[in-house]
């Protein structure tokens, strides 16, 4: 979903790829950034056929964002799935989330890369004066 209030984009990094999500809350920004991660792998539709729940925590909000993206990467890897819809709930420096997706279909999804891990490079979680939240980092692919 890309509206005036929320959305995602990729940004350049020397060897890898940056993901950025924004929205009216940190929950929304984290959800959009995870959508950007999926879009780094495939441009095809991801059917929300199955729900997976995850949780993580960290010492700071930006480190929580790294933990969240790493949690998505982990579930992608062990379940061989892609996720297209996310519902994130952040309380303090703890996060719980549900994500919906389907098994990778190599013919339809044509996965362009296999994310290895979120990095601290270009890592930032912020809220601007208008209340728009942003979460971003570079992902090693």
């Amino acid at each position: 979903m890309k509206t005036e209030n929320r959305g995602w984009q990729h940004f350049s990094h020397g060897a890898d790829l940056g993901i950025c999500g924004w929205g009216p809350s940190h929950d929304a920004a984290f959800e959009e950034a995870a959508t950007a991660l999926t879009a780094a792998v495939t441009g095809a539709e991801v059917v929300p056929a199955m729900r997976v729940d995850v949780s993580c925590e960290a010492r700071a909000l930006d480190l929580l964002f790294v933990a969240w993206i790493n949690a998505v990467i982990y579930e992608m890897a062990v379940r061989q799935m892609l996720f297209g819809r996310f519902a994130v709930r952040i309380a303090g420096y703890s996060l719980s989330a549900s994500m919906w997706g389907e098994a990778v279909d190599r013919g339809r999804h044509e996965p362009a890369c296999e994310p290895k891990g979120a990095t601290y490079t270009e890592l930032a979680v912020s809220r601007d004066a208008k209340g728009r939240c942003t979460a971003r980092c570079v992902v090693d692919v």
């Binding site: 350049s12 020397g14 982990y74 362009a112």
Partner: protein, 476 residues
């Protein structure tokens, strides 16, 4: 980068004088043209690494250096544990022990051309590559422990390799000091079905033709013959290594803080070598290295089966298998004597010169093979380590071309189909599950590997032995 920022040591060596928090200088090896094309981040990251506790002599950046995570990719730094030296997860990287192996075949290119499409299709079917592909091996917990300790030896014992390979693999196929118990359950779960898989990104399997010999004696010792093909595999420790990198990057941030280490960049997260976190990371990192060595041995085994299907009874001896994301304990000269140091090589290849005792007897007179990967349409190189590299770079050399353009920019500039068609017209068959993945890895997105190698040779890091041209490339 602006050359004026450096003290020029010679045609290909540029020194960053130690200022501020830097404990040692940083030296970048590159021609002036390569240096000018390098990202300014290489300067900043090299200087940052030179500020870490226990760093000795100098930090070095290879001619293919580019912006990395904490350390520049193409960075080499050694730390003395007796001087509070540190180990850094970022200094090894997320793909622990990513590396290259090259196998000889003795098959003339003319024979391969007749079957090129069939061989490409067969390799693509048999080599699991990219997200959504699965290997034929599922590891039970007890096998996981054995693999993480045994490395390529374990793979050979399982029947997925050749015992003759072992002496041609760095550390003779298994690094000592691996502690599988320090590898998280999540990392092990991630690896359970990934043995014998190639991965994606810049990982590949290539069938290559030996097109040019620069050093006839070394080529003869290496078994490289013009117009014959070789098979080269580039990959690493797969999901296990990635997870170990993520796990310890998170753990080393508070560890550095607790040790009073001020980090210029959080990606430099590190821990004293002589600390609980440092020793656990070493144990887990060495286990991950063994995972990479086992994985490449299995991939080599699969490749041999495919090639022998088309060319029965072909011997495919291993030329060499060497990693370029590592931290190794090695003896080097520093501080007026020989020291046991922890040498980080992030996107840099160990390059022992002639006579080094770690080399197998057949290679000792020539120097270690240094395998430099290309980028689908461009050449790869086989170099030989030089004795001068000990003083120059703790016996290290470059590892590849290095990216000149981001994936994001490359996918906007090229279409995968067009890249594949253009390469096909040049006699190169590409097999990949992803058109966009091919575009992101387009040869034009990389630096001129020939210039990188020429610079490495001019610096005395490693000398050219042979040039290889791609014939078939399987990418994840």
């Amino acid at each position: 980068m602006d050359p004026a920022r450096f003290t020029r040591m010679d045609e290909n060596s540029w020194r960053i004088e130690p200022v501020g928090a830097m404990r040692v200088p940083a030296i970048i090896y590159a021609s002036e043209a390569l240096l000018r094309d390098m990202d300014d981040k290489v300067f900043v990251q090299s200087a940052n690494v030179a500020s870490l506790p226990g760093v000795v002599r100098a930090v070095y950046a290879m001619p293919d250096a580019h912006w990395g995570y904490g350390f520049p990719i193409g960075g080499v730094a050694a730390f003395n544990p007796e001087e509070g030296g540190v180990i850094s997860a970022g200094g090894v990287g997320f793909d622990i022990s990513c590396g290259v192996r090259t196998m000889l075949t003795g098959i003339p290119i003319s024979d391969v051309r007749l079957l090129q499409r069939d061989i490409a299709d067969s390799l693509y079917r048999q080599i699991p590559a990219g997200l959504g592909s699965e290997g034929a091996i599922t590891l039970a917990p007890v096998d996981m422990e054995r693999m993480l300790k045994g490395g390529a030896h374990w793979a050979v014992e399982q029947g997925w390799g050749d015992a003759a390979d072992l002496e041609r693999i760095e550390e003779n196929g298994a690094v000592a000091g691996a502690h599988p118990e320090f590898v998280s359950d999540r990392a092990k779960k991630r690896q359970r079905r990934e043995m014998g898989t190639l991965g994606s990104g810049n990982h590949y399997l290539e069938v290559q033709e030996v097109v040019e010999i620069y050093d006839a004696a070394a080529a003869s010792a290496f078994g490289l013959v013009p117009s014959e093909i070789v098979v080269t595999i580039h990959c690493g420790s797969r999901g296990l290594g990635h997870q170990v990198g993520s796990d310890f990057l998170a753990e080393m941030l508070p560890a550095a803080e607790a040790a009073g280490i001020v980090l210029a960049d959080r990606e430099l997260a590190c821990a004293p070598i002589r600390s609980d976190v440092g020793e656990r990371y070493l144990g887990a990192m060495r286990a991950s290295t063994n995972c990479a060595l086992a994985n490449r041995e299995i991939l080599g085994h699969i490749a041999r089966k495919v090639i022998r299907h088309f060319f029965p009874y072909t011997e495919m001896p291993l030329l060499f298998d060497v990693s370029h994301n590592t931290c190794k304990v090695e003896t080097h000269r520093a501080g007026g004597g020989s020291r046991e140091l922890f040498v980080h090589r992030k996107g840099a290849t160990r390059a022992f010169g002639p006579g080094h005792p770690a080399l197998p007897e057949a290679l000792r007179g020539v120097g270690q093979p240094v395998l430099i990967g290309g980028s689908m349409g461009t050449a790869s190189y086989v170099l030989a380590g030089m004795a001068t590299s000990e003083e120059k770079s703790f016996s290290s050399a470059c590892h590849g071309a290095g990216r000149a353009m981001s994936r994001h920019a490359a996918s906007k500039q090229w279409r995968g189909r067009e890249v594949s068609d253009e390469l096909y017209a040049r006699g190169i068959i590409i097999r990949s599950p992803s058109s966009r993945g091919v575009a992101e890895e387009a040869p034009g997105a990389y630096k001129d590997v020939g210039a990188v190698v020429a610079s490495a040779e001019a610096c005395g890091l490693a000398r050219k032995v042979a040039r290889l041209a791609p014939v078939i490339c399987v990418k994840g």
